[in-house]
């Protein structure tokens, strides 16, 4: 997987270099560097975007995504209080390629992205506790005495990124907007589930939780960027 990813990156670099000579110089007045503020599903952050050629550019920046969610839901007919906290904080370097520069309209703005992110924090913690009174025979046990299940999920630190988007390759204005969607491939996470008090026996749930979380290998990205021309 690592080798394939490296090959792809190299391919893009080669294409960028060769593509550069093929571009026209009619757009010499276009902006070549931006400071970009973005917000989206992967959080909010800042990028510095540099257009190496009209077709190729790269962005380097960082995003942070603090997440806190509380709800009461039914887990297999049991009312459960759910508290989820997650942090996805990354620094990334992404190469953007505009393959349709000769087209008109929206197609001209389409770009493909490849890159990678370093997540100094990529983890989530979920706590579930029974929201009610548990009846054991004639004994009523309040939720505070029942304990809670805590699931901790940790993903890889380094994650490749792929995506698509739309941005004006020849912006003339100082400020413009771009849009991108994609995903970081986070790999299979390490998922652990522990319980306290009367929920301490979690062997069966641990296996199921690990399997459930194995589906969460991508961090989807859908973000809007506000780009400020630097020069």
């Amino acid at each position: 997987m690592k080798r394939h990813f490296t090959s792809l990156i190299l391919g893009f670099v080669v294409a960028a270099v060769t593509g550069a000579s093929a571009q026209t110089t009619a757009d010499s007045s276009r902006t070549r560097a931006y400071l970009s503020a973005h917000v989206g599903t992967s959080g909010a952050g800042l990028d510095v975007k540099v257009a190496v050629t009209p077709a190729f550019g790269f962005r380097a920046g960082a995003s942070i995504l603090p997440f806190d969610y509380n709800t009461v839901m039914s887990v297999r007919a049991q009312p459960a209080k759910i508290d989820i906290q997650a942090d996805f904080n990354n620094a990334h370097l992404i190469l953007d390629w505009h393959p349709f520069l000769k087209e008109k309209g929206l197609s001209k703005k389409a770009f493909v992205s490849l890159g990678a992110g370093y997540f100094w924090k990529a983890e989530g913690t979920g706590t579930a506790s029974y929201d009610g009174t548990y009846q054991y025979g004639d004994i009523s046990i309040p939720s505070s005495e029942l304990g809670e299940l805590t699931g901790v999920v940790e993903w890889n630190k380094v994650a490749p990124y792929a995506g698509i988007g739309f941005a004006n390759p020849f912006p003339m204005r100082k400020v413009n907007v771009s849009f991108s969607v994609g995903a970081f491939y986070m790999g299979r996470p390490d998922a652990t589930l522990t319980g306290t008090k009367l929920l301490v026996n979690t062997q069966a749930n641990q296996r199921q939780f690990d399997e459930n979380m194995s589906f969460y290998r991508f961090l989807p990205v859908a973000q809007v960027s506000l780009n400020f021309s630097l020069f």
Binding site: V75, A128, Y130, I139, L199, R217
Partner: protein
């Protein structure tokens, strides 16, 4: 190219969305540990004469912590199926060093002496096993002799002196004699004069020198947490009986509690009794004390000091007058109010991770006079909190409860001072087999659950039910024991609530036996599949 780009983009997006769509809580079960009860006490009742226990045993709990007492299934209605009472404390309640949990368990049955068993639970005393005998009031046992007389009354009073003497039997050679003066009338517990034409008087004399009498001593053993001493203060004390007797009288179907005038009681005492602090047998002129016991309250009360004499039959005896009825104990009573609980720590590396049911016996320093026998499930390194030890030096023995082989013995010089008493169990000559029994319970629509802990009894396959012995505690569905042998067949019995489950003629085919119980598994045992299913539904309730 554009179409390919569009198609790839859509596929890419749909793929990611679909891949991450699994609910993190998919098929997760919020399954509460079945082992809700943290502090457990098991009371094993036996019939004093070895017969089958009556089916109509009634159990009630009283005392300061009674409100927090349930059975292992969490039910307030406590029963005694097969003579086994399971008691569990509300998991929200914890005993402390200064405030142990205390309550009394009253057991009654028609034609049986009522029992009032005090229970004390110390911090970390998660499990304890008590034993008490139910005594049929109309028949003798090897350790007791009973005599009943009926006397006509006039105007609710005796017209002539009434004499009642318990019989001397082959095993109970001492007797209790009662003399009721003429003109005595009788009152109930409320102090009301009883009117009736007939007085029924019954006395049961116990052989205090017979270890079997220990199971019949009021309470669960010779220690009691509820003793009103000569100073009027109530606290714990340890009894060393030279004799004890239970006297009951009835007029017009009502129990007599007091008399209009004193009656005379003579109790012949165990001639081998050695007063506390001496190593010589009791003799004429020795001073002993008399305590009375109220079964309804479970309280002992100091009555008086008596002097040992020789009675008309030249036996050592004490005589005293009393105006009320109850159980009377004569001997030595030593206060344990200032005693601190101790712990036994068992060392037995040869047990591995298995358990062994033992009988821990305490003797006086003569090594012969049994003071107490407790059933204790031990494992290597297990620490067992102990209360109720006597405030004098004792010898102890630890026996394999099944084979009665001695595993350890020694001396406890200061049992009352608290602290830890280390006991190393000797390894048997033959290698032990560690047999694991695992019970997997799969609830319909839920899957495997952790079953609650319960006590498991066993006997050789086909043996009479009276031979059921405690095998151990099944914790979280597993019991590992050295008490079973591969190749042998056993009958197993467990109780849950008021239900009993038996598995007969189960052969131990390997060291690791697992049994699965669930809808999709075969049902086993001697009960019908419907009965097994009902047990399963009970175990799976609220899960």
């Amino acid at each position: 190219m554009k179409k390919i780009f569009t198609l790839l983009s859509l596929t890419f997006l749909l793929g990611i969305l679909n891949y991450g769509c699994r609910n993190p809580a998919y098929q997760l079960n919020v399954l509460f540990d079945g082992d809700v009860i943290k502090y457990k006490t098991t009371i094993m009742l036996v019939e004093a004469d070895g017969a089958a226990l009556p089916a109509n045993l009634k159990v009630a709990v009283s005392g300061q912590d009674a409100a927090n007492v349930y059975d292992f299934a969490g039910l307030k209605a406590i029963t005694a199926p097969n003579g086994v009472i399971t008691l569990g404390i509300d998991p929200k309640i914890e005993p402390t060093a200064t405030r142990p949990l205390q309550f009394n368990v009253q057991v009654t049955a028609d034609n049986y002496e009522p029992r009032n068993i005090p229970v004390t639970i110390l911090p970390n005393q998660f499990s304890q096993i008590l034993r008490a005998a139910m005594l049929k009031v109309i028949s003798n046992t090897p350790a007791s002799a009973v005599k009943t007389v009926e006397v006509g009354l006039t105007g609710g009073a005796t017209t002539a002196p009434v004499s009642l003497v318990t019989p001397a039997t082959g095993t109970v050679t001492e007797v209790t004699s009662i003399s009721i003066p003429a003109g005595t009338s009788f009152r109930n517990a409320a102090g009301e004069l009883l009117s009736g034409g007939t007085l029924t008087a019954r006395a049961i004399n116990f052989d205090a020198g017979n270890p079997a009498a220990l199971d019949m001593f009021p309470g669960a053993d010779l220690s009691s947490p509820n003793v009103k001493g000569p100073d009027g203060q109530v606290g714990s004390a340890f009894f060393v009986p030279a004799g004890f007797t239970d006297i009951d009288m009835f007029v017009g179907g009502q129990e007599v509690k007091t008399f209009s005038q004193d009656i005379n009681v003579g109790i012949q005492i165990n001639p081998d009794f050695q007063p506390v602090g001496t190593t010589e047998d009791v003799k004429v002129g020795d001073k002993l004390v008399v305590y009375s016991y109220q079964n309804s309250t479970g309280q002992w009360q100091y009555e008086k000091e008596v002097t040992v004499t020789r009675d008309a039959s030249q036996k050592l005896a004490v005589a005293f007058a009393t105006n009320h009825l109850t159980v009377f104990c004569v001997g030595n009573v030593v206060s344990t109010r200032n005693c601190a609980p101790s712990t036994f720590t068992f060392t037995a590396p040869w047990l591995g991770s298995s358990t062994l049911t033992t009988a821990v016996q305490l003797f006086r320093m003569d090594g012969e006079t049994l003071l107490d026998e407790e059933t204790v499930i031990v494992s290597d390194g297990r620490v067992v909190p102990v209360t109720g030890l006597p405030p004098f030096a004792v010898r102890y023995k630890v026996l394999n409860a099944s084979t009665r082989n001695v595993l350890a013995e020694g001396t406890i010089n200061s049992a009352c001072n608290g602290g830890n008493i280390g006991i190393t169990l000797g390894q048997p000559g033959q290698p032990v087999q560690q047999v694991t029994l695992t019970l997997v319970v799969s609830c319909p629509g839920v899957g495997p659950i952790v079953p609650p802990s319960f006590t498991l009894f066993y006997k050789p396959a086909g043996a009479p039910a009276s031979q059921y012995k405690l095998l151990g505690e099944v914790q979280k569905g597993m019991l590992k024991t050295v008490m079973l042998t591969v190749g042998s067949s056993y009958d197993f019995r467990a109780n849950w609530g008021n239900q009993t489950k038996t598995v007969n003629n189960k052969t131990i085919t390997s060291l690791d036996l697992s049994t699965a119980v669930g809808e999709e598994f075969d049902f086993f045992g001697t009960n019908t599949p419907q009965y097994n299913r009902s047990l399963l539904i009970e175990a799976c309730k609220n899960r």
